[in-house]
């Protein structure tokens, strides 16, 4: 088997809490992505899904303690020299962020920000050529009137157009991997669908690997080859997309699926009771135990190991059996 594009092993991140003690925000995460594949990383806020990606790009605030391994094309990113990781950021790995309004610099034109992305990695390109390339990228992401649009400022774009521009910027250097962190969360539902379609089409056309980070299982259902569900700083269930939806093993995943609205659905949406744990006050044992209907004594004592259950792998003492599985949409 060929080497994966991205291979994360036992990634751990700690932050120093208000009282000075270190708390683990990421507690040993394994993820991998084949070249050209799509991985959906799903979880509520605070599950650690974003910081996992920001960590190996070295974009976390100073003071985070990182251990483990993250190999990109076989090259270890953790502990990589800043000058080398800068060459990879934006060139080999592109990023799309949640809120495209705050992610663009408000006082610079969109075109100049895209031109910058190009020129940071190739000084031989002139400003004018880079702006021309920005226009071509705008065409690629279906922004009308590209020549006029590149000269506009972020506030002159609508939310959807801004996110298209963000995608154009991530694509600027034809990366091998794009990390999209909640790319549709800040958008209207109708615009969400357009952006998702655009992202799916472009990555297929260009053969780019995609890590899609989201709290919404519905967003990744149609696009991801594989899904990893995160909770409390760990991957709690992982597998190909279909089994994760139809042969769900972890009660938390089942809860997330129950919270996704469907066209045929008639009953009320089910919600998962309670709130996700803070990294500073994580419960003993399985971190999902306070919110889990199936929790028993062992769940309060021991953190369940990650193991294969049917067609997916999950970390649960009492995974859902076939008869108990939630029938997906």
């Amino acid at each position: 088997m060929s080497e994966p594009l991205l291979d994360i092993r036992d990634l751990r991140i700690s932050f120093r809490g208000p009282d000075g003690t270190w708390s683990e925000a990421l507690r040993g995460v394994d993820l991998s992505l084949e070249r050209g594949g799509v991985l959906g990383v799903v979880g509520e806020s605070g599950s650690g899904k974003s910081i996992a990606m920001m960590a190996f790009l070295q974009l976390l605030p100073r003071g985070a303690r990182i251990s483990g391994s993250a190999r990109f094309n076989g090259e270890e990113l953790i502990g990589m020299a800043p000058s080398r990781i800068r060459q990879i950021r934006g060139k080999n790995i592109g990023c799309i962020f949640q809120d495209p309004l705050s992610a663009f610099n408000p006082v610079l034109t969109i075109g100049s920000q895209i031109a910058e992305a190009i020129r940071l990695h190739d000084r031989s390109v002139s400003r004018r050529e880079a702006l021309k390339e920005a226009e071509r990228l705008f065409e690629m992401v279906s922004i009308p009137q590209p020549a006029r649009r590149v000269r506009q400022y972020p506030h002159e774009f609508s939310g959807g157009m801004r996110q298209r521009a963000m995608i154009a910027m991530a694509l600027a250097n034809r990366p091998e991997l794009i990390i999209a962190d909640e790319p549709t969360t800040a958008l209207d539902v109708t615009v969400q669908a357009q952006i998702l379609d655009l992202l799916a089409d472009l990555r297929k056309e260009l053969g780019i690997g995609l890590v899609m980070i989201t709290h919404d299982l519905g967003v990744v259902a149609g696009i991801a080859d594989e899904i990893a569900v995160m909770y409390g700083g760990k991957v709690v269930e992982r597998g190909p997309t279909d089994p994760v939806f139809y042969d769900t093993a972890h009660p938390y995943t089942a809860g997330l699926i129950g919270a996704v609205p469907t066209l045929e659905g008639t009953g009320a949406l089910r919600q998962i009771p309670g709130t996700p744990p803070s990294i500073f006050t994580r419960p003993q044992g399985c971190s999902f135990n306070p919110r889990c209907e199936r929790a028993e004594a062992v769940c309060l004592r021991e953190d369940p190991p990650f193991a294969v259950h049917g067609r997916t792998s999950c970390a649960c003492h009492f995974p859902l059996g076939p008869s108990l599985r939630v029938v997906g949409s």
């Binding site: 974009l59 950021r89 940071l120």
Partner: protein, 337 residues
Amino acid sequence: MLAYIVRRLISIPFLLLGVASVSFLLSQMTKGDPLAALVPERMMSNPEIVEAVKAEWGLDKPLPVRYVRYLGNLIQGDLGTSFSTRRPVATDIAERLPATLELVIAAMIIGTALGLCLGLLSARFRGSAFDSLARIFALIGSSLPIFWSGLILLYLLSVRIALVPGTGRLPPRVQPPPTHTGLYTIDALIAGDISLFWQALAHLALPAFVLGWAVTGIITRLVRSSLIEGLGQDYARTARAKGAPERVVLIGHALPNAMIPLLTILGFTFAYLITGAVLTEAIFSWPGIGSYAVRAAASLDYPAIGGVTIVGSVAFLLANLLTDIAYAWANPRIKVH
């Protein structure tokens, strides 16, 4: 944009009439007697002389008459005659304002350049020894009273080691250059007199540094905190995700955003210093508007007080307008109508 500027300019004379009225009425309400400046003390007992002087200066008329006359003259550009210099206030101001402008412009250039450099380096190397040193330097500049720092520096640099010349705008008995702008350095250059230019610049250096140092403090702190705030914004993370080194994130992304609050402060500081450079002017015998204002206030010289008030107001109104224009230029989200 142009229509906006014109509209703002048109409003200025009306605002000035308001300012003049308030300053006139307030100075009439003070307890002191302006006659003290006009009549020698030993003649105060002679009612004929007092009445004659009152009549000569129009002080015998009731307040409303004087008020209307004052405003009427003002509209024609006549600020009245100073009680103490016995010359038209407008002439006094025209003579003294360029000196202040030269001092304040030089101080603003020094303060802004120094503040920007220190702020940038402090933000880049925050928490380092340099950051602490820059903060101390800035803190000293803004907290040391100018009459102290000015005197000490004058003593050390001029009296002890003669690095810079003493007080005044030029050495004694040196003729100033022919007046074009009233700024000696510029006028000397226009006249093509390079040695005079260096002399004027050397005299300007120390007072401008003392005043600029006080400004440096504010600017350094503002630039540093705006830049550090910018470095924590989402757009800075985006820039890093594009592969930008920290230097580019700082200068290319955080700095343009920091210009927005900086321009506001610069405009107001400049306007404030036009009448607020009194201490520097006094210590360095700089014949500017600030020292004129102090003398006018001390002797209840109403026309001079009114004149200085109007100059100060014009400075604020213009600085405000320029700030708004610069603001719209620095911040594309602002549109002026």
